[in-house]
């Protein structure tokens, strides 16, 4: 089994290096095919590991080699394939294999084709390190590794200013969170003496509650960055500057869920500190609503999906925060499938529309892009949580969890958000695929994506439909390591009312979206309509002015302060005082050179004066020695030691 573990882990790395060999040479399709194949190998190996776990095999735990060892610190490169990580591995390898194959088609005309695959495979490797590591340090390696790859992929089209800006923003914002993560690691190490999961978690119940609280908070700050929780969320929407497969893989299915994974992985810690868990859940609920509200009015297809991702991450955190770790993980998995599908579909649309992102400029694309239409609709239905698609099982479960745990505010927020989700998802679908064919004005002739691309997407389509049916198998598997709380509404009546009510609410929202946006004469927002002039619309459109505020109150002051530090403090104070001291000597020399008038008589006078000065020093010293006791007495009387 260890062999399969290594194959699963390292074949993406090999693929990445293979593609990197061709990074500087012109496009060769082999640079895309080989990494995709290797990822498939990785997927197969992961499946074997999954089967092993499912069939009751032991958890595979290997220690490859020592990484850092000094003092009491011992950090190995250790990997563990248990029920949680194998779930993540499956998600990662499935989605990334699909995305790789898809990218061969999507990036077909890009001159940096080879480089793209190098980065993409490197990302998968980092992500696998993240989920498979058996200690916090290994997690951090993967954590930073995915950040790096995300930077490289968001800024993949580095000639675009907006892309590179977004890449840097994502990296730096993640770094802010990583600091929290790092501090969390330090706390774990100094309090438990180890960074291994099993040993650290075993030592935690004995620790003081404050320490555990801080630990939980700092680790969660790390999770907030990667999972783009408020207030570190702005990077995710901007990250849509990257190629669409990247958005599908990194910013929907895998990397952004790392935060959820961390909380799930650290469940023994968060079990001990339910108040932090409640905070996580509240923040999750807030972000769910907050992100969904921003998605309502956005005019950028990818950003809408990104906000929806953000919103779904909020759902996951609600589940994780309330202690329903397996639910969070389940939603993570289901979400990965349908959200990746949604993004890939969006990628097809973009290709067809020559990188147009504004859905108001599309419309009626269901004819030329039939398959894409089907896929995106299915994915949206799944996202909205309609029975029997994947979203229903996972999302409804979260609603139930919040209800059962008696957090009614969270419940109502989530319920309302579910309606919003349905609305904006189908607003998008309606705008793109239905109604008038507005794209014709721009002289575009959309065409469907390559066949193999569509075939590559089909596994995701399938999974988005059927993922819900794995629920019980999955539950039995992961509860081997996660708390096995079953969430059942006590009365059957209540359950049915709730479920049907939710479904109806969601369906209503969908209908409303279709009614508003699927007809031929929709109002294209041009700043004239009454709604657009409302304050709340403006706030939503400007993303609550948060990016603006960051720019205004963090970025600009930082830049200005840096300038002040350099030009005024460093140059005018620190350096100037050094030069000032040097100048004192210099000017003393300049002034006293008149003493050396060359006139011997004057010099002789100075000589005598010097002699007198030396003699007086001798006298003073002699007196001081002679009367040292008295002097000390006087000084001590004055309070000098």
């Amino acid at each position: 089994m260890e062999l399969y573990l290594y194959i699963a882990l390292f074949s993406p790395l090999v693929g990445s290096m293979f593609a990197a060999l061709f990074a500087a040479s012109p496009k060769t399709s082999i640079a895309g095919i080989v990494p995709s194949f290797l990822l498939f190998v990785s997927f197969v190996a992961s499946t074997i590991l999954l089967v092993n776990i499912l069939s009751g095999g032991d958890v595979v735990h290997v220690e490859m080699m020592t990484w850092m060892a000094t003092g009491n610190l011992y950090i190995p490169f250790g990997f563990v394939v248990d029920q949680v990580s194998v779930t993540m591995m499956m998600v990662v390898t499935v989605v990334s294999t699909v995305v790789h194959v898809y990218s061969i088609g999507y990036m077909d005309h890009d001159k940096s084709f080879n480089r793209f695959f190098a980065w993409l495979s490197a990302f998968v490797f980092s992500m696998l390190v993240l989920v498979m590591s058996d200690n916090f340090a290994g997690l951090f390696i993967g954590w930073e590794g995915v950040g790096l790859c995300s930077w490289g992929l968001i800024g993949f089209w580095y000639h675009k200013e907006s892309a590179t800006w977004a890449a840097n923003e994502a990296f730096i914002m993640n770094r802010i969170a990583d600091l929290g993560m790092l501090i969390g690691l330090f706390l774990v190490y100094w309090n438990t003496g180890t960074l291994q999961y099993d040993e650290a978690f075993a030592a935690m119940p004995a620790l003081a509650p404050e320490v555990l609280t801080w630990m939980g908070i700092f680790l969660f700050i790390g999770a907030m960055g990667k999972s783009a929780q408020f207030p570190l969320h702005t990077w995710l929407a901007d990250a849509m500057e990257g190629p669409t497969p990247v958005s599908a893989l990194i910013h929907a299915a895998t990397m952004v869920t790392a935060g959820v994974y961390l909380v799930v992985r650290a469940n023994p810690l968060y079990e001990l500190i339910p108040h932090v868990g409640l905070f996580i859940a509240s923040l999750g609920a807030f972000v769910a609503l907050f992100a969904a509200s921003m998605a309502l009015v956005n005019r950028d297809m990818k950003r809408i999906i990104a906000y929806s991702t953000l919103s779904q991450l909020g759902y996951m955190f609600v589940a994780a925060g309330l202690g329903a770790y397996w639910v969070a993980l389940f939603h993570l998995m289901a979400h990965a499938f349908f959200k990746a599908l949604l993004f890939l579909g969006a990628g097809n649309v973009m290709h067809a529309m020559h990188d147009e992102l504004d859905p108001f400029k599309m419309g009626g694309l269901k004819k030329p892009l039939k398959w894409t239409f089907i896929m995106m609709t299915v994915a949206s239905v799944a996202l909205a949580g309609i029975y029997p698609l994947a979203g229903f099982f996972s999302k409804d479960l979260i609603l139930e969890v919040s209800l059962i745990e008696h957090h009614y505010i969270i419940y109502s927020v989530l319920l309302f958000t579910a309606g919003l989700t349905a609305f904006y998802s189908f607003r998008l679908v309606a705008l793109i695929f239905h109604g008038e064919e507005r794209y014709k004005i721009f002289g575009i002739h959309p065409h469907e994506a390559y066949k193999f691309v569509l075939i590559a997407m089909s596994p995701l389509l399938l999974l988005a439909v059927i993922a819900g049916s794995f629920k019980m198998t999955y539950f039995e598997m992961v509860t081997a390591v996660l708390p096995a709380t079953e969430y059942h509404v006590h009365s059957v009546m209540m359950y049915w009312i709730m479920t049907i009510g939710t479904q109806l609410f969601v369906l209503l929202a969908i209908a409303f979206a279709y009614k508003k946006y699927a007809n031929n004469a929709i109002a294209i927002p041009d700043g004239s309509s009454k709604m657009e002039n409302r304050l709340c619309y403006k706030i939503l459109k400007n993303q609550y002015y948060i990016p603006y505020a960051y720019e205004e109150y963090f970025v600009k002051p930082y830049r200005e302060l840096s300038d002040v530090f350099w030009k005024h403090i460093d140059m005018k104070i620190v350096d100037a005082s050094v030069d000032g001291i040097a100048n004192i000597f210099y000017s003393t020399g300049e002034k006293t050179r008149t003493m050396q008038s060359g006139n011997l008589s004057t010099m002789l006078k100075w000589m005598v004066a010097g002699t007198v000065a030396l003699l007086s020093l001798a006298v003073v010293y002699g007196l001081a020695v002679r009367y040292s006791d008295e002097i000390m007495l006087i000084l001590s009387g004055l309070g000098v030691q």
Binding site: Q596, S597, G598, N599, L600, S601, L604
Partner: protein, 102 residues
């Protein structure tokens, strides 16, 4: 007062020394400056001899001998230099010697 001790000699030596200092500082004529330095040396010699006497130690006298020897050499070389300077410039005034101006 009547018993002459070491301090009397030292005070005398000091007085002579300060007279020499006055000469050194006041004189602008190099020859006169040389005279003043002779006074300085002699003042010190008195102190040496006196200390030697009152402590019963000959080291002071030895030093005085060497001081005299040095004074003699100094006069010889100094006068030679003085004469050359006088030949070249026609005076031996300190005020005119300022080539070492910094």
């Amino acid at each position: 007062m009547m018993e002459i001790g070491l301090n009397h000699y030292l005070v005398l030596s000091t007085i002579l020394f300060s007279i020499g200092l006055v000469g050194v500082m006041r004189r602008k004529n190099l020859l006169m400056l040389f005279f003043a330095t002779e006074i300085l040396l002699n003042a010190v010699n008195i102190a040496f001899a006196a200390i030697s006497h009152f402590y019963g130690d000959l080291t002071g006298q030895m030093f005085a001998f060497f001081v005299i020897a040095i004074a003699a050499s100094e006069v010889a070389v100094g006068l030679g230099l003085l004469i050359v300077w006088h030949k070249r410039h026609g005076n031996i005034d300190l005020e005119h010697m300022s080539t070492m101006r910094g």
